[in-house]
């Protein structure tokens, strides 16, 4: 039995020292994901607690088909999306296909601001604008963008977290990036 298997065995058996190690190693990922999705430190804390309480209960049946980290991202993503849906029950489910509207993907901003130095681009005000732009994305696109481009998961891992095909992850990521590029371009084109 390798050390990872031995660790899993301890977790499944309810070993509190092993569980504390799991919490410590993953709490930052869970908290940051929830903070990005919900934009509210109190709600992010609630999701953090819910995630590890759920994980503790579910660990005896954890089959290890995905990594522990991916599995925890899945619990945290579901908890975050559930909270968003409770607030706005009319919003789209992550499972439903998100139809592209006619012309949605066509760019409208053509100013090339890409050669402006990063320290000029990344000031306090523009960082706030970038956060707001993510917060304004539909949640089905936001979760994919946060997992892929902010948390740094691969397409396959994001697909496992959200139980989406890799093609669906790619499509949603692309749409999120196009929407963000439009917003950043509109902002920087006015100021540079």
């Amino acid at each position: 039995m390798n050390s990872q298997d031995a660790f899993l065995e301890k977790l499944r058996a309810g070993d509190s020292v092993a569980f504390a190690q799991l919490v410590e190693a993953n709490q930052r990922n869970v908290y940051n994901l929830a903070l990005r999705m919900l934009n509210d430190p109190q709600e992010a804390e609630d999701v953090l607690q819910e995630t590890f309480l759920s994980a503790y209960k579910a660990l005896p049946g954890f089959e290890g088909r995905s990594s522990l980290s991916t599995w925890l991202y899945r619990i945290a993503s579901n908890a975050s999306l559930m909270r968003l849906r409770k607030k706005r029950p009319e919003t789209t489910s992550i499972d439903e296909p998100l139809e592209m509207e006619e012309g949605e993907s066509l760019p409208r901003q053509f100013v090339d601001w890409s050669s402006v130095p990063e320290d000029e681009l990344l000031n306090g005000e523009s960082r706030r604008m970038m956060d707001e732009a993510v917060a304004e994305l539909p949640e089905g696109l936001r979760i994919v963008f946060v997992l892929r481009d902010i948390e740094g998961l691969s397409t396959q891992e994001a697909g496992e977290v959200l139980e989406l095909s890799e093609a669906a992850v790619k499509t949603r990521l692309h749409r999120a990036r196009l929407a963000l590029r439009e917003k950043l371009s509109a902002y920087f084109a006015e100021r540079l």
Binding site: S16, V17, F19, A20, Q21, V23, E24, Q27, R28, Y31, N32, L35, P41, E45, L48, Q49, F52, L53, Y56, S105, L106, P107, Q109, F110, V111, D112, W113, S114, S115, E118, L121, L122, R127, M130, V134, D149, I150, G152, K170, L173, H174, R177, L178, L180, R181, L184, S185
Partner: protein
């Protein structure tokens, strides 16, 4: 009005920037970009957008605040791992 090639490039843009497209198609995209300033601007600013988010999120990725961690371990009824001196 964007050409068919512009629309084609746009639909593959994320995969192009993620290095997931075949070399032949990348060459085609690069040839088109050389003669199409609008596509060049879209590709460059999309790449920069992704890069800025990566830089900003690495810089601002929050540690879990100490009081939040304390409440978490209390709710879970476990002790936080102790680290050697």
């Amino acid at each position: 009005m964007p050409s068919e090639m512009c629309k084609n490039l746009l639909s593959q843009l994320s995969e192009y920037l993620d290095g997931e497209l075949e070399a032949a198609f990348c060459t085609e995209i690069e040839r088109h970009m050389a003669g199409c300033p609008d596509c060049r601007a879209v590709v460059n600013t999309m790449e920069k957008t992704i890069e800025l988010y990566r830089i900003a999120s690495n810089a601002s990725r929050s540690e879990v605040p100490a009081d939040v961690q304390d409440r978490l371990f209390k709710v879970l009824k476990i002790d936080a791992p102790t680290h050697g001196e």
